[in-house]
Symmetry: C2
Subunit: 166 residues, 2 copies
Amino acid sequence: MTATDSGHELSITRYIQAPPETVYRIYTERTGEWWAPKPYATPIVEWDLRPGGRSQTVMKSPEGEDMPHEGVFLEVVPNERLVFTNAFTAGWNPQVLTGDGCDFAMVAIVTLEREGAGTRYTARVRHWDDAARKRHEEMGFHEGWGIVAHQLAELAEAEAEAKAPA
Amino acid sequence: MTATDSGHELSITRYIQAPPETVYRIYTERTGEWWAPKPYATPIVEWDLRPGGRSQTVMKSPEGEDMPHEGVFLEVVPNERLVFTNAFTAGWNPQVLTGDGCDFAMVAIVTLEREGAGTRYTARVRHWDDAARKRHEEMGFHEGWGIVAHQLAELAEAEAEAKAPA
């Protein structure tokens, strides 16, 4: 047996002018407001924030089409780090993805690092082969994850500003 | 996107005449003594028992051939439950297996349930497709996992007996 583990990674990073605690709270408690690039919406978010816990989101297109995504959390460190994958569904059932949309497995490592008065948000998304990485990139990874990072930042910064001393 | 998650499972179960605490201790602290079917040995066991922690074993054949296995733990509940997979290496790097031996991903769910004065040991091993399940079965899953369950049971039962009141 030989093994390869190069990661086939795509990543995005962004500075958010709000502390990690605020970003984490918006990330996990107001997920439906920023998860999908507008005008897409995310009417359903079922997150069980523990290793093995279910991660379900359903996005809705402006035309009303539902796009369900099932996965699990692998690591949860509040205010610091979330790792999740679609390689399993809850209960550690191996998941094989097929169809028109996302037909490949990935694992996402999201970190929130304190940087000055704000947060360095970084999302690293890894794939099992380079074909999947390329397909994900061509599907618009950088644009999509960039837009939703911006939406996340807007909510977190609005909350941080509202709480700042006058 | 559509998803399938049937599990493609192989499993084995065995009653062990020792309490779960003893079985868990032997499982995790004396791994090298039972992990490989004798006369194979397991000179290297590097286990970091937490979600995302490294699971490395190196088995050695009687002819001296090394067989390394890398993976991670997904869930660790002492005395009750261990879940591990070779779909990742430590650090959440997606792992693609190739070569002569085990060239497929799997996830193992090992449970220790108290049953009378002893333990019901069950190992469920799931695969991403039925071809892998079949290949694993043909490689001798039931024989191999059966032998090592027997080796685990012998060690646990010897310890439980040594500790029993006269």
